[in-house]
Amino acid sequence: MKKTIAACFCLMVVLAGVPALAHFQMVYTPEIALNQGESLDLKLVFTHPFSAGHTMNMGRPEQFYLVHSKEDQSEKTDLMPRLKAIEWTSQGHKGQAFEAKVKVRKMGDYTFVLVPAPYFEGEESIYIQQITKVIANVGGVPGAWNQALGLPAEIQPLDKPYALWTGNVFRGVVLSAGKPAPNAEIEVEYMNHPPVMEKNTFAAKGEVGAPHPAFETMTIFADQDGRFSFGIPRAGWWGFCALGVGPVKEHQGKELSQDGVIWIKAVDMK
């Protein structure tokens, strides 16, 4: 009996220790700086990218689309019909996720946008909806990467998200329904376990270790104009999540945190 109580207590402590924050919606494809068009494999996973920890079950997304832009042209393509349900494994746990195959051929920017179904986080009794962008480029002709799309919660990049060297400073503006969100709280997380695409899982070993919990999910604040900057210390993928900046605050009778996420990739100079 004592052993059971002790075990239960330990489990409670462990579960309570898992931060309900640090959830990150990933929209992942291995390469976003493409010299020519190709067929992209995308994985949509709601998880903890630094620790490759618990992966949450995603419901069917509300919207998933891309906007192709170059010069003064812009074209939106609905990607919902391409979605296929998959299971993503992280550290032995399986979570429901999605994948899609998208062929990109013409030069220009491809902004992928995911509006997921709100996720109920039981630990905090709130819903979380992370509206996520990732921007790829084909051939080097730039498009509208810098322009806001008018999403409820959005990070507008001020530096090309697909053309960053390790050591560059990435800057952005946090927007709430198109307007700058002053003093927005932003979580920054490194994708420490490279995804293994063909197995729908993360690599078992992380690339780096965090000396202290504050390094796993970093917190920065935007200034009074919604602007932030972040010096990128290592090559790879970095996610930025502006918390609760969307205008919708309630879902099915519970509090809703509408977050804006953007993923960037840094490359070492060689």
């Binding site: 068009g37 010069e71 042209q73 051929r105 030069m107 051939g139 080097g140 002709v141 730039p142 498009g143």
Partner: protein, 106 residues
Amino acid sequence: MFKRSLSILFLAVVLGTGGSALAHTPLCSCWDNGDGTITCEGGFSDGSSAAGVAMRIKDPSGKILAEGQINKLGEFTADKPKGDYQVEFDAGEGHRIVIDGKDILK
């Protein structure tokens, strides 16, 4: 004294207008449409339009098989030649790209 200043000013004007004012790289890529035609897309690394840029398709001897211009959408479409060929994107000195037909795939 005045003559010298005038010479320096003249030299500055000549040097200033001599080179290209825009620091952009030409970009071009082509694909086979699978219906007997090929399409090439042209642009510049700073996002400026390549509309109007001369396009030529040549055979190995240099004979021009087809020519035209990049259109307002940034594209040029032509019949795919039967043998070996090259596509030339010609935006002027230092802004030319040549693509071998063998590299133009579906």
